[in-house]
Amino acid sequence: MSKTLDELLVERAKRGDVEAFEQLISQYERKVYNIAYRLTGNHEDASDVAQEAYIRAYSSLPEFRGDSSFQTWLIRIVNNACLDELRKRRRQRVTSLDEPLTVDDGEVDRQLAVADPTDNPEQALERVEIQRAVQESIDALDEEYRVVVVMRDIQGYSYNEIADALGINLGTVKSRLNRARNALKEMFGNLELLAPRVVYSGRRGRTHEL
């Protein structure tokens, strides 16, 4: 039976071939790093977490039996490493959306970053600021919720894949994702990131979409 490239690389990596391992993970490194980045919210922590995840994966290679694809297995380890790290950090430092945003050139009040509410939201917030606000909102979620949002809405994993990677059941994925998105929706609403739907108010208070 012929082996896939991944299988061959896994075999070599298991024997301590670091280059084989690096080749193996290079296919997934952007994905892995982006998961770490979106879960931690900054490059420094993302680098730490992603490296920790790779170290963990490398050390656990003998446990990898090929029951799932290498990618699934790796993502599971990355997510667990991220979750562990986030939990560790949460014990050290609790942040909430009420705290001021910290930006590179100092602190700004969260409201200032969101701009004057009388302005047109699209004009008021530059793309980079929107991105920062979105990331900050994601950061404000509990890690269990954060991870499902990142995996689904940024990485595009299916519910099944998320359930598999996190070791939770499908129903839990659904309910966590639902709660996470609703929490984000509230935050985005408060930050005026959501455009109101244009509706026409008819007689007796009935509304119709235009």
Partner: protein, 349 residues
């Protein structure tokens, strides 16, 4: 269905992850409820905002850093198998197969227990190791007593029993419930973070490796549960006396002088041999060099004035440390080679 029943489904609705029944209910509801339709719209925007986040680049220094850490780790060796919390005792029937397999394998006698420090810089526990080729044919005619455990050495069970740390209780031979009972010949206390040294007696089986004097380091890696194929039985506990959930891999690291054989070892685990002859030669050479350096410096030192001596002292001291280190390294290697010590290294958690 009212709005409350619908709201919880809207997120999955966006992803097309609803069952056909739920999908129908949601679609019907959305046609007449603008609040929920608004909700869907807001959720859709929320998802779009999250999805709009740009992909970030992996920092330039990331790979080099990771590479260094991976190289420093060494080969991955921590194989962990799930085992039942308490290993079941073997029935006669179950035992028959491993016993037969063990007949062709090697017997381990894990006996005399005492501390042995300093070997390879690793604190270790020493046990006697008695590889012996079993005489029984794999298809036994007589009762299952395939393994000669050798001298059932006086063990030190009290010492072990008084240490409720990670322990592997190892027995040789069939289960005590089997017809040919054999007493446990040893209990080994294993700390998964430290190697256990099992020494091979000088009269152990040997295989001629030719005339050249060579030293070999052989490693035999096998999961602990493979120990039963060797005729050993065990339970593993952690430092608190709780059963281990994971079985660490046991790695035998042997330093074989003149090619001491591990009969049957290759049948139960992967063995690797490494010629360390050159390593021994190098260690001898560097020990000699650092001693020469130190002697020379000491000679200079003794001829100097007290003021100069004070200045020279750190240099002399560092040369001395270097010499002691090299000597210790050589001693350790030679000791391993001379006594054909086998390190029973437990890896894993």
């Amino acid at each position: 269905m009212n709005c409350d029943g619908i709201r919880g489904l809207l997120s999955a609705y966006l992803d097309g992850e609803l069952s056909p029944g739920d999908l129908l209910r949601v679609e019907q509801h959305l046609r007449r409820c603008h609040w929920c339709a608004d909700e869907v719209d807001s959720l859709r925007q929320t998802v779009a905002l999250v999805a709009s986040l740009d992909e970030v680049e992996v920092p330039a220094a990331f790979h080099a850093q990771l590479h260094d850490r991976l190289v420093a780790l060494g080969p991955p060796v921590a194989a962990i198998n799930r085992i039942p919390v308490q290993r079941p005792r073997y029935s006669n029937r179950r035992w028959a197969v491993p016993a037969a397999a063990a007949a062709a394998a090697l017997a381990i006698g894990l006996t005399s227990y005492h501390q042995l420090g300093g070997l390879s810089g690793l604190e270790a526990q020493r046990h006697q190791f008695m590889p012996s080729v079993a005489t029984q044919n794999p298809t036994p005619k007589g009762g299952p007593s395939p393994i000669n455990p050798g001298d059932p050495m006086p063990t030190a069970p009290n010492e072990i029993a008084s240490k409720p740390s990670t322990s592997v209780t190892s027995k040789l031979g069939p289960d005590t419930s089997s017809p040919t009972d054999s007493a446990p010949i040893g209990t080994v206390t294993l700390d998964p973070t430290k190697p256990v040294i099992v020494s091979v007696p000088a009269d152990g089986p040997k295989v001629a490796m030719g005339d050249t004097k060579k030293y070999f380091v052989a490693t035999l890696s096998l999961p602990v549960d493979q120990l039963e194929t060797l005729g050993a039985k065990y339970t593993i506990q952690d430092q608190n006396g709780e059963p281990f959930i994971s079985v660490p891999t046991i790695q035998f690291v042997t330093v074989l002088k003149q090619g001491l054989a591990l009969p049957g070892a290759s049948q139960v685990g992967k063995t690797e041999e490494k010629d360390i002859t050159q390593g021994v030669a190098q260690a001898t050479e560097s020990a000699k060099q650092s001693k020469d350096t130190y002697d020379k410096l000491l000679g200079q030192y003794q001829r100097k004035s007290p003021a100069e001596q004070a200045e020279m002292k750190p240099q002399l001291e560092s040369a001395k440390q270097e010499m002691l280190k090299d000597q210790a390294n050589l001693d350790s290697l030679s000791k391993q080679a001379d006594t054909s010590i086998i390190l029973l290294k437990v890896l894993g958690r």
